[in-house]
Symmetry: C2
Subunit: 615 residues, 2 copies
């Protein structure tokens, strides 16, 4: 498109942003209007995309990091012929695909859900990594950022990662409209301030008047032709651009225009320009997946193996069998054991250094391109990326997260390194799967199954060695459990997972010596839980004693309740969990101090029997 056409197209995007927001009675028209010229030029002259084939391997990828500017995105979709005017005006209404913030669960052209600021660029880095290192396709990744969100540290994790990896297929377009939600940003229109920061992280930068379509056009060309560096285009814009009453004014963030009709008139009225978006170049198929036989490692019962070791070995084997599996780690691969994968499949391993947000975001980006990512760090440090996990679930992204060094069982390193909230955090994620194996064979089987699940999959591993108790051919269905001890005269049921399975078994043995028989259930699938087995145990024994190396809130103890919340009678529920702030000590001392070792379990069971709480 030429200058005149681009200007017209930008005005149309503004008008449609105003109209959509007015119809909704909410939304962010002013944040859309500032970036309308940036979007118009991109769509008309640079973006290569087949809207009928969003999965086309050669398609460029666009991420709206400033997700609240969704009216602009939807207006662009309309201009590209992907949605019609009628649908545009369903914005933010019940059952509309056009949500307040865009999500791929609803729209095939959206790469990742945005709306939590500072996440679009990190996910864009993941997509660009895929293009560069895996797909080896020439698509470009364009990310439209707000200026406010550059205050998020995750943006600089992304900047560091992209700069270091020389992602010249990535362009960040920053809509520097000077105004955040409640007022001016830190740097206002000081484009140099942002340029200095991006440059320091190894980026090429271009400063531009964000309302000069020709200048924007040249900037995009410069970005596309810059080699060896990602490019940040810093565009000076005005919030609410095009309507004098609201232009560059504070207090109008996230508000539809009061006089929409007047504004539309001032913007030149409703238009119906259609953009013929450039086709993507021919590209080879996304990636040839070797979906061969997966030859999982096997351990003999009685061997002492850490579940983190089993994870690493199983993942490496999975990577050998499946070409679509990729792995990421937060610079602790020697601890998590992701290093086994890294050594065998260096081409599909992504070192994310100590930047857990970027690690999860990269996993989301890789998943968006069809890969099956496994991302590992200490369970404790996945808390760093909780907002990214939450947003990934809104995206409907299929990612595997593995948290090692769970619980007080790590011992000497102390509470900062102990994952004690991870089960609660991951269970609360919509549609998640939460797994907590207790031995090596179980870990390997679960790691392999995770690959084919939907949504967020989380598996928790331990630091210390534990005995292998299952044969290598045992099956561990998701949503299942294992009854490890059973008799007709069980007086209560111990429900455990991970390290506490071994403690529960020891306790059960000690209790049996005293004539107290107890059932032991290995609840390796914390979410979903095995309702049938728990209900049977409740019926048979009347009391479930849960034991977990986790805080008492939100973990195993709460998970068993899922089997009984449909109105049926609930058994007695007693829980042992980590109720104090642990310190440094040996693993055995730590388990004992937390009251979750065999001795504590046996004592609790004895008390229940003595107090006649159980029959």
């Amino acid at each position: 498109m030429n200058t005149g056409e681009l200007v017209e197209l930008a005005q149309q995007l503004r008008v449609d942003s105003v109209r959509a927001s007015a119809a909704a009675g909410s939304g962010h028209p002013t944040s859309s209007m500032s970036a309308a010229d940036l979007m118009a030029v991109l769509l008309a002259n640079h973006f290569r995309y087949d809207f009928d084939r969003p999965a086309h391997p050669g398609n460029d990828r666009f991420v709206l990091s400033k997700g609240h500017a969704s009216p602009l995105l939807y207006a662009a979709y309309k201009a590209a012929g992907a949605v019609d005017d009628e649908e545009l005006l369903t914005f933010r209404k019940l059952d509309s695909r056009l949500e307040g913030h865009p999500t791929p669960r609803k729209l095939p052209w959206v790469e990742t859900a945005t709306g939590s600021l500072g996440q679009g660029l990190p996910v864009g880095v993941g997509i660009a990594l895929s293009g560069k290192r895996l797909d080896r396709s020439d698509y470009r990744v364009w990310v439209l950022c707000g200026d406010s969100e550059l205050a998020e540290g995750s943006i600089w994790e992304a900047a560091e990662h992209a700069g270091h990896e020389h992602l010249d297929n990535l362009t960040a377009i920053v809509d520097v409209n000077r105004l955040g939600q409640r007022g001016p940003t830190r740097h206002g229109h000081d484009l140099d301030a942002y340029a200095r920061r991006f440059q320091a992280f190894g980026w090429h930068t271009v400063e531009v008047d964000g309302h000069d379509v020709d200048a924007i056009d040249r900037a995009y060309g410069e970005a596309a032709s810059t080699k060896g560096q990602p490019t940040a285009i810093l565009a000076r814009t005005l919030k609410g651009k095009g309507v004098a009453d609201i232009e560059d004014r504070e207090g109008l963030h996230g508000k539809p225009l009061k006089n929409a009709d007047d504004a539309i008139e001032e913007l030149g009225g409703v238009r119906d320009l259609r953009v013929q978006v450039q086709d993507p170049p021919a590209a080879r198929i996304l990636h040839a997946v070797r979906a061969g036989h997966v030859d999982l490692p096997r351990w003999d019962t009685g061997e002492e193996v850490a579940t983190r070791d089993a994870y690493g070995q199983a993942l490496a084997a999975l990577g050998t069998g499946r070409g679509d599996v990729v792995a990421l780690d937060g610079e602790v691969g020697d601890s998590t054991r992701t290093e086994y994968f890294a050594k065998e499949h260096a081409d599909r391993y992504f070192e994310c250094y100590i930047a857990e947000q970027q690690m999860v975001a990269a996993a989301v980006g890789l998943a968006a391109r069809g890969w099956v990512p496994y991302a590992g760090t200490f369970a404790a440090f996945l808390t760093r990326a909780y907002d990214f996990v939450r947003m990934a679930s809104i995206s409907g992204a299929g990612i595997n997260l593995v948290g090692s060094h769970a619980g007080v069982a790590i011992g000497q390193d102390g509470p900062s390194q102990m994952g004690l909230e991870d089960l609660a955090m991951m269970r609360a994620i919509h549609g998640s799967t939460v797994l907590y194996p207790c031995d090596a064979n179980q870990t390997a089987r679960l790691i392999a199954q995770m690959a084919d699940l939907e949504g967020i999959r989380y598996l928790r591993t331990g630091r210390g060695e534990s005995p292998v108790i299952y044969g290598a051919d045992e099956e561990f269905p998701i949503g299942g459990s294992k009854v490890l001890r059973f008799s007709q005269s069980d007086r209560l049921t111990l429900v455990a997972a991970g390290v506490t399975v071994h403690e529960a078994l020891k306790a059960a043995e000690a209790l049996e010596q005293e004539g107290i028989r107890v059932r032991v259930v290995d609840l390796y699938s914390v979410k979903p839980v095995d309702r049938a087995t728990l209900r049977q145990a409740a019926e048979d024994t009347g009391c479930l004693l849960t034991v977990e190396d986790h805080r008492e809130e939100g973990g195993l103890g709460d998970a068993v309740l899922d089997a009984f919340t449909d109105g049926r009678p609930v058994p007695r529920l007693v829980r042992l969990a980590v109720r104090t702030m642990p310190g440094s000590a040996s693993p055995e001392e730590s388990l004992h101090a937390a009251g979750i070792d065999a001795e504590s379990i046996a004592a609790a069971a004895r008390l229940l029997v003595e107090q006649a709480i159980v029959p």
Copy 2:
């Protein structure tokens, strides 16, 4: 100390780091040895601190951001006479104060718990803000960082905040030892790479040989005399410095030395140098707290008020009555309503822009200096700072967090803005208090009480208006609840909080019309819960139907179970919660779609009656 003495002191710190780790059989001696010269010069010649009076207002503040180098810190404490050699060798043992990673819960000289990388500098920024803007004391804040942790985005949130606020009382000392945990860092010994980044964020930088005590001495002097900017000292060091076998070698992170005795000999043997740390300058008392009468806002029953509004107004009033209350917000103060405080108490308000990690870290730093911080953003975005909340609880920090826009009740903005995991996340934090008020008077009372609690306090507010149902003089004790409807013939109990209280009341009314009487409990204190009231309700009605605008895991439904986990009979528990992925819609439509509006509650209750699940 002169050059020779400093060199000797540094060697002593190395030797003691090696000895402590050897005695523990674990720990990070090599990461301690790289920074020993940096620590020795700081302690002997620049740090001003009275170890007998850690609360002295004029004390400099030291934060070990690379918390794993705790042997070095403890060795320094020994050199300063604060701990003796016997205690030094209890490192990482059961009940020792010298944990694997330092924490103020154990040691009075530690400002904040570290061990999750990238957190010490952000907390240091909070302390420096306190010194500059509140205490108006001349103390300096020295933060010893690792090079690996500079990959964390939170470091750059801190850099941005400190640069923008011209915190010239803050010095970051970066121990650039080139090696992370599993191998080389991104930038190795390229000090310029780090300098460029800090400079871009407005910092003064000094590059130095981190093993040249005279150069270090000059660098500290330069930092102390630099005005208008924080200083980053980038020190080139060698991991394991001083012992040829391990110096600058990969694969030795977090491992005690194999031949500790030889290493100690190579380092010149055990010494017992004592440092006379400089006294702090005379300083006025920490801060004069006006602990006057707090005149909370009052609302009449029947008024329609959003709880976020009540929070903002109550906080402003609290700030008027109490001089120790400070507030922070993540650039959404117009939404959270922290703006009311900001307008009335600009001197005690900290705008953190969109950087939730830095916001929580600043709150921790301010709390460390004796202030009572309230930090607000959307409940959804507090997930961004979960690791900081977790670490704050390990610190034993007393901070108040307020999350607005909770649940699907926000409507059109869609799931990215809906706090749906916050109750689970905050409940799982050790020692936390979790509050969820349903009306304005209740909100105000709870906000005022939070100030005097221990640990992490979280309060959840809503976006929309809701009717005031409590009088302004009603009391709402922490751990309490309110029985809003009660009869001798209640057939079940509705347990609600926040927005669902109003829905439950409507449902109860509708049910009463049909002859079904139900009890309604407002469980505003989600943690701790009111066990007595829940147990009475269980005894009287046999069934609790929980209703929450939150995921079904870890929230209200799980919280009620806390009243029944001691082995007593558990009532039937049925829960209504958000089980699907919400989209954009009106608040009413959203509550209905999630199945937690009055109609859904009444339908669930009816079903329980019809199925004879309740009597």
